[in-house]
């Protein structure tokens, strides 16, 4: 073949990665704005809207993503990588932009949640097809000895997409009031509209790209697959590798990825009651400092092999998740904060008929702040010469919310989240090269897309659901939800350690 692997590789990586980053951005903003979207499109008390809301959350991630992987994977192996991942980008961009244009439930009724559900399903479908195409495209351009490093650029996109989504939402929020942001045609729609500009730019760049040289050669020889799905999953020799990829690598990587980047932030906000902006800014900083390690571990995987780097990321998660999350709980325990010297910034009491709600805002010496809400129950009311005397049963379990750290603890939390994202970079960075090397060119797109999206979409995406299930069943341990990612990562580590080979397949032109 006359193709020189490294010619124009920077441009190829940039064009592929930009589009994938934008697709991740599009997919995330829906999840991050779920609360506002739910108010606008899925109002409480309407059972049909609630059903559509549940479908939008669960069907898009769990059902449609793997289906998108099959549909677009097949297309990518039949007609080529370039046009397929151009199509996924167009579908993703258009559906994201249109979500931003759908009038709210108040204006068009049930049509609003129906439209949003449909567009969300298209988003899930497009995401299912994008990653496999972009990873395959870069890998098929890369020289063997740098395949891990070059494909690690595509691995940064999922994390950077999250970073950009978080950044844009925080930026919009910072420039308007809460009411203006949450209004029917308010600021929450801007991140959706921004998408069309980003996608337009990316489509323009991708249109100029050429087909993958390996796939083009295969097509010129007339050696492409006639039925990629049958060849991928119907032939035992290839199907057993699909199963090995899923259970020995991607399943564990998916839960490590989700726990480090989503569950950690959600735990800080919902369980530890850390302030909205601070919990997100901790994640933003941690991502910013950890992202270069995607490239480092991609590069390292070219030197020492993919297997042990991925498995080390999983094992570290298994070992350190509980200690790290225990620190989160311990350091956000407001009862401990109350033992320090505190200053009351503001205190309000609302007198209710049978209780008094007392809200007190505290601040301590290092700048940490929190709000305590006590609800003292009135057990007796006496009228003594026109003076009302209330007897109280004092609230022994006050709630503590909106916790803001002082500088020292804020940095400590960034460091802890950073450590977990380092586990992500280890488990995730070599995975594109690893998957590409596992399957032959003619069915590569199909074969690698399905295990990737089952591992990430299903196993990873289920972390919050299973965590809630465990927390509801075993109420004594506040960290019980972590046993799901720990268990899956450990199982995957065992399978990977025994069944995977660490050999780098230099020749993917087969």
């Amino acid at each position: 073949m006359a193709y020189k692997p490294e010619k124009g590789i920077g441009k190829i990586i940039f064009s592929s990665s930009l589009g994938t980053l934008i697709e991740w951005y599009d997919f995330y903003i829906f999840g991050m704005l779920a609360k506002t979207i739910s108010i606008q499109f899925f109002p409480e008390g309407n059972s049909s809207a609630a059903l559509l809301s549940t479908l939008a959350i669960f069907a898009a991630g769990f059902l449609v993503r793997p289906f998108g992987a099959l549909f677009f994977g097949r297309l990518g192996d039949l007609v080529g990588r370039k046009y397929t991942f151009l199509l996924t980008l167009i579908l993703m961009g258009a559906s994201t932009f249109l979500i931003g244009l759908v009038p709210g439930y108040k204006t068009i009724g049930l049509a609003a949640p129906l439209l949003v559900l449909l567009l969300r399903l298209i988003q899930g479908l497009a995401l299912g097809g994008e990653y496999g195409g972009a990873a395959t495209y870069i890998a098929e351009h890369a020289p063997a000895e740098k395949r891990g490093y070059y494909t690690s650029w595509i691995q940064t996109t999922a994390t950077l997409g999250l970073f950009v989504a978080l950044g844009i939402i925080l930026l919009v929020k910072a420039n308007m009031s809460e009411v203006a942001f949450n209004a029917e045609w308010g600021g929450w729609r801007y991140p959706f509209w921004v998408s069309i500009l980003l996608v337009g730019l990316s489509i323009y760049i991708r249109l100029k790209m050429k087909e993958s040289p390996m796939y083009a050669a295969l097509k010129a020889e007339g050696a492409t697959s006639i039925n990629p799905i049958k060849e991928s999953f119907g032939h035992k020799a290839n199907f057993k590798m699909v199963l090995l990829a899923l259970f020995g690598a991607v399943m564990g990587q998916g839960v490590i990825w989700y726990t480090g980047q989503f569950y950690a932030q959600s735990f800080l906000e919902n369980t530890c009651k850390v302030d909205f902006i601070q919990s997100r800014s901790i994640l933003l900083w941690a991502i910013a400092f950890a992202t270069p390690f995607f490239l480092f571990f991609g590069w390292l995987s070219d030197k020492i092999g993919r297997k042990w780097i991925m498995l080390a990321g999983m094992l570290l998660g298994v070992i350190f998740y509980r200690p790290i999350f225990s620190i989160f709980l311990k350091d956000t325990d407001a009862k401990e904060w109350k033992k320090q010297d505190l200053v009351i910034i503001k205190s309000d009491t609302i007198h209710l008929v049978l209780s008094d709600s007392i809200t007190t805002k505290y601040k301590n010496y290092d700048g940490a702040k929190f709000i305590e809400i006590k609800k003292d129950t009135v057990t007796n009311i006496q009228n003594m010469n026109n003076v009302i005397i209330k007897t109280y049963k004092y609230d022994v379990k006050p709630r503590y919310i909106n916790k803001e750290f002082g500088r020292k603890r804020y940095i400590k939390f960034i460091f802890l989240v950073w450590i977990m994202i380092i586990f992500v970079t280890m488990a995730y960075s070599p995975i594109a090269a690893f998957l590409v090397e596992m399957f032959p060119t003619k069915i590569r797109y199909t074969s690698m897309s399905l295990p990737y999206h089952i591992g990430n979409g299903v196993f990873g995406g289920l972390v919050p659901f299973i965590a809630t299930l465990l927390a509801t069943t075993f109420t004594k341990d506040p960290l019980v939800g972590l046993w799901y990612p720990i268990g899956v990562a450990f199982l995957c580590f065992i399978i990977g350690a025994f069944y995977l080979t660490n050999k780098i397949n230099n020749d993917v032109n087969d």
Binding site: F62, L246, I494, Y499
Partner: protein
Amino acid sequence: MNTIKKIMGIAWITIAPAIIYILVMGAIHNINDAGTKDINKPIPWVIIITIFTPIALGLMIFGYYALTGEYDKPPERSDEL
């Protein structure tokens, strides 16, 4: 090493139906009209059990392949696939 891989195959075959059993029991115990969480709604369970059944079946097949020595020597080139 190959003997361990084969023995572990039995574990994978056993784990798969256990996962489905746990999910079905989880659904039976948690679906509740009065509940407000996702785990109390039937739709997520239907979707999850639907998607996990073929995955668990895949784990069983993986275990069967391991037991029959299919992973003793992984293929290195596509003409071996």
